[in-house]
């Protein structure tokens, strides 16, 4: 069962949810799992003008019980072929690790991830192949679509 949910955490997440729902941002969305406020499912779409345009990715967001003082754990559920995402869906993004701050919220995280898709950090890749191909956008897109199609239902 879930750990008892701190009222402050619940309140914070509730208000983040409301903020996110009302902001209604293009290509970004998230919602708590039924019966568990600490576990959310997120959806991001690749921004237009990037290789990821038109692709949709599901994420899982797990909030720690002392959120927002510790960063949430975020992974890709849909396999994502990207220089900074490994084959297990783990993401290498500074604000989710050492640069985390309590002023960030679900909305800013999702926006950062959407930006990351179109603007990877190829200097410290988790997926070497993707990082190498990044400079050749045509080939990159071809590989990306192949990978995406393979894992789609």
């Amino acid at each position: 069962m879930n750990a008892p949910l701190d009222a402050a955490v619940a309140k914070r997440l509730q208000s983040e949810l409301m903020g996110l729902m009302m902001a209604n941002l293009e290509g970004i969305s998230a919602f708590p799992q039924p019966d568990n406020m600490l576990s959310w499912v997120g959806t991001i779409e690749g921004a237009s003008g990037t290789a990821y345009e038109g692709l949709t990715y599901k994420l899982s967001l797990k909030f720690p019980s002392n959120y927002p003082f510790t960063a949430p754990t975020i992974t890709f559920d849909t396999p994502c072929w990207h220089p900074n995402v490994d084959s297990q869906g783990n993401i290498c993004l500074d604000i989710l690790k050492d640069k985390w701050s309590a002023v960030y919220n679900v909305q800013t995280i999702l926006l950062s991830l959407q930006t990351l898709l179109g603007d990877p950090n190829t200097a410290s890749p988790l997926n070497g192949q993707a990082a190498r191909l990044w400079d050749n956008q045509d080939e990159y897109k071809r590989c990306l679509l192949k990978h995406y199609k393979e894992h789609q239902i």
């Binding site: 409301m18 996110l20 729902m21 019966d35 499912v41 559920d77 396999p79």
Partner: protein, 835 residues
């Protein structure tokens, strides 16, 4: 192209050879070569070897020069073909001279020498035919095959005609082939290609398009030349025949054979590639036919088949095998997606079945499909409904592919295991089963016999022995256990058998039925009765006893309601309530009721109802279940009137404002006899709907005038409010259980109906819709992220995450239906999803 010159040349070279052989024979006979001493023979052999070496050095230079001199830019160009052909002719001529010179002066044991000569020649060719030339040869053979396929496709065979420029020898050979194989090989018929359609179909290609690979571009160019007229086609065929002859004559069948085969592989590959993703029409037969024709024609053109292809059968068989193999690979790789498209992709399944039957690689197919499913389907990103749909399609497809169900069993096992690990599988199946447009519903309605529980070992022996059409299982079935029961079961039975017991489904159905019955108005249970009857056919009468009781409770409630109605008329009071009275033993427990006092208006109605009931059933008492009831209010405020359907607890909070216009949270909690948290969440509900506002911390008042400023509202508010909230109660669903006397305890649910305050209803409902529109953002959020959801899940999540909570199911259903009409949502199988 001067084919006649070639033919003359070929004939001459053969004649020359023959006369030479005769000369040699004439020479050797009188000398009695067989009696010559061994030392003489040995020295002759050494001498001969030396001579061959010398010749080879000489000819190596010549051949190399020939090979380097030839420079063909594009082999598909007719002029290039001429040049290439001339080159081959030169090689042939050189060969002849080489042989002649090598044999010059030889008078006996020529057989041995001939072998040595052809070996030396082979080595030379091997050395001089570099990458470039063998590449050309392969491309050329490929082009020939493609062209034949193409011509066969475009040109209807016409009456035989001799005046088409076809070489007599070639025509004879083709005709021979036609008689032997029954294949109508091109060339016997006069070729007429004035058909403008065909020509333009190739003129339309953009040769510079970088997407088209080199080979394809050449092929198209070639077609274009080929398609002009019959003359060209015949010249082309003559050309092919001559070139083939040279190739064989070159004396290196080992190499040419490899080229032929790789050219056939190529055309097979490109032909099979054309049927990629073409699942709606059968492709296999058509493809086999085309390839068979092409290779047959080509085979016919090889004027002197020298036995090089014996070990692989004829070229035709080789090509057919290649098509089957590659096509099967293609379709097996696509199988997962084909299943998604089923039944539109039925033709593809039929094609694949033919391939698999011929190749016998069922196990291979099963394993690949199983891997694809594991990779693409069984991960957290897929919804349970998607997995179920794919499983159902797989069942239908694989049964078509393999009636023994062996493949299905191999493929289904991981799906079944994975489904078992998902929590919502049973509820998804039940939802699907009862929604009338689904396939499972048809299965259920077909009433195909009882579903057996799996026995201890899951085998039913009797059936297997009794089956007259029994056939042994295919070899692939080794280690895969398919029971006859599993093999013949319909989809629904297969789904139910995911679990070891069918009880989970019956329980889930009970839950579903309970929800349906509790929210049905007017005691109308026709649909539910039908569902229970169908369930009985599949799951047995015994399993559905609880459901029977539930239905009976509703029927009883209806009678009681009528009785209460009549009694109330005789006593001259109104009974604005409908109650559903349920037996506690047979209905799943409702959540624990939170404690609060009903306002006296509501309590009075409940009491009256209970008193009539107790008259009817003396030993029983009713316990109301407020949390499962609904109440319709009409709220009259100073400037507006609202119609709402809410929970009794919410209504109770609003009722307290009727007495005091402004009150603190503590006051409200006290007058309701409940906790502050309980009261607060209900106040938030009204706050969200713009009826109550918080003036200062924990102090609340009713908003009488929406548009007026806050100042001075206080005075008006109380009065206006009082008159307004002499609210009518309607549609009060209440559900109580008064911890009864005696042993018989009953659960009761009740509903009540009252007239509506007709006027301004429309306005009020618009206000409600506005609120729901706010909620709609949340609904979009949950559907985007959690996938399709049924009504009750949407409802429960709204109440969990949206401040102010609570929408009634009916209201939400209406609203969602409207969204469906507005094309924002889609509803299938009881699940809502985004467009």
């Amino acid at each position: 192209m001067d084919t006649n010159a070639y033919n003359r040349c070929g004939v001459m070279s053969q004649d020359a050879l023959r006369s030479m052989v005769q000369k040699i024979k004439a020479h050797s006979a009188p000398n009695g070569s067989s009696k010559s001493t061994s030392s003489k023979a040995a020295s002759q052999a050494v001498e001969f070897e030396r001579k061959i070496d010398m010749l080879a050095t000489m000819y190596r230079e010549r051949l190399k020069r020939l090979c380097t001199e030839i420079d063909i830019h594009d082999i598909a160009n007719p002029s290039a073909s001429v040049a290439f052909y001339a080159f081959l002719q030169n090689i042939s001529e050189t060969h002849r001279q080489f042989k002649e010179q090598a044999l010059l002066g030889r008078t006996f044991e020529h057989g041995k020498y001939v072998v040595a000569i052809s070996k030396a020649w082979g080595a030379l060719i091997y050395e001089c035919f570099d990458q470039k030339i063998s590449e050309w040869l392969q491309v050329w053979i490929h082009l020939v095959l493609c062209a034949i396929v193409h011509l066969e496709k475009c040109i209807p065979p016409l009456e035989p005609c001799t005046d088409n420029g076809l070489d007599q020898a070639v025509a004879a050979r083709l005709e021979q082939y036609h008689n032997a194989t029954g294949l109508h090989v091109l060339g016997i018929s006069a070729v007429s290609c004035d058909n403008p359609e065909i020509i333009t179909s190739f003129d339309g290609f953009d040769d510079e398009d970088p997407q088209i690979d080199m080979l394809e571009r050449r092929r198209r160019k070639f077609y274009r030349h080929m398609s002009r007229d019959s003359r060209t086609a015949c010249v082309f065929l003559n050309d092919c025949a001559s070139t083939c002859r040279i190739l064989v004559e070159l004396g290196v069948p080992k190499y040419t054979r490899r080229w032929f085969l790789s050219a056939i592989d190529r055309i097979v590959q490109s032909t099979v590639k054309l049927s990629e993703l073409q699942w709606e029409e059968p492709c296999l037969e058509k493809m086999l036919f085309g390839i068979r024709l092409a290779t047959a024609t080509f085979d016919a053109l090889l004027v002197q088949p020298d036995g090089s292809f014996q070990d692989i059968g004829t070229l035709v068989e080789y090509a057919e095998r290649g098509v089957l193999k590659q096509f099967a690979e293609l379709r097996i790789a696509e199988l997962f997606s084909i299943i998604i498209d089923y039944p539109d992709s039925k033709a593809a399944i039929d094609d694949l079945r033919m391939c698999v039957a011929k190749l016998g690689n069922m196990r291979h197919m099963a394993n690949l499909l199983r891997n694809a499913i594991q990779k693409r389907l069984l991960h957290p990103g897929a919804t349970t409904n998607d997995i179920l749909t794919q499983y159902i399609s797989s069942i239908r497809c694989l049964r078509l592919l393999d009636p023994s169900s062996t493949v299905l069993e191999i493929v289904a096992q991981p799906i079944r295991e994975y489904l078992r690990s998902r929590e919502d599988t049973v509820s998804c199946i039940v939802q699907d089963m009862v929604s009338e447009e689904s396939e499972l519903f048809e299965d259920l309605a077909s009433g195909q016999g009882l579903i057996m529980e799996n026995g201890p070992d899951g085998i039913v022996y009797d059936e297997e022995y009794a089956n007259k059409n029994w056939e042994p299982l295919p070899i692939e079935a080794k280690n895969v256990f398919v029971t006859a029961q599993r093999r013949d079961a319909d989809v629904l039975s297969l789904l139910v058998s995911i679990y070891d017991t069918k009880d989970v489904f019956v329980h889930e159905f009970e839950k579903y039925l309970e929800q349906q019955l509790l929210y049905c108005t007017e005691y109308n249970t026709e649909r539910e009765i039908k569902q229970v009857e169908m369930m009985k056919l599949r799951f047995g009468d015994h399993a559905l006893e609880r459901c029977e009781v539930m239905l009976k409770d509703i029927a009883d409630s209806k009678r009681i309601a009528q009785y209460v109605d009549e009694t109330s008329k005789s006593k001259l009071w109104d009974m604005p309530m409908q109650a559903t009275i349920v037996s506690r033993q047979f209905w799943a427990g409702a959540p624990k009721e939170e404690e609060y006092k009903d306002p006296k208006e509501m309590a009075e109605i409940c009491e009256r109802y209970a008193s009539v009931y107790e008259m009817l059933k003396p030993a029983r008492k009713l316990e109301w279940r407020g949390s499962q009831s609904q109440i319709s209010l009409s709220i009259e405020l100073a400037d507006r009137t609202l119609e709402v359907t809410v929970k009794p607890a919410q209504a109770a909070v609003l009722f307290t404002f009727q007495e005091y216009g402004t009150q603190t949270l503590a006051d409200i909690a006290k007058s309701l006899g409940c906790t502050e948290d309980f009261a607060l969440s209900r106040i938030r509900f009204w706050q969200a709907r713009g009826i109550v506002r918080e003036t200062e911390s924990n102090t609340f008042e009713v908003i009488e005038n929406e548009n007026k400023s806050n100042i001075g509202v206080g005075a008006e508010k109380t009065g206006g409010h009082d008159s307004g909230e002499s609210a009518q109660e309607s549609n009060l669903h209440k559900n109580t259980d008064e911890g009864g006397s005696k042993d018989d305890r009953i659960h009761d649910t009740d509903e009540d109906d009252d007239d509506e305050n007709g006027e301004s209803a429309a306005e009020a409902s618009t206000a409600r819709t506005e609120i729901l529109r706010m909620n709609f953002k949340y609904i979009v959020g949950m559907l985007t992220n959690l996938g399709p959801l049924p009504l009750d899940r949407i409802l429960s999540m709204l109440s969990m995450f949206v401040p102010g909570e609570s929408t009634t199911p009916d209201e939400l259903r209406d609203f969602l239906a409207q969204m469906v009409r507005e094309d924002q949502l889609e509803m299938t199988g009881g699940m809502y999803k985004l467009k």
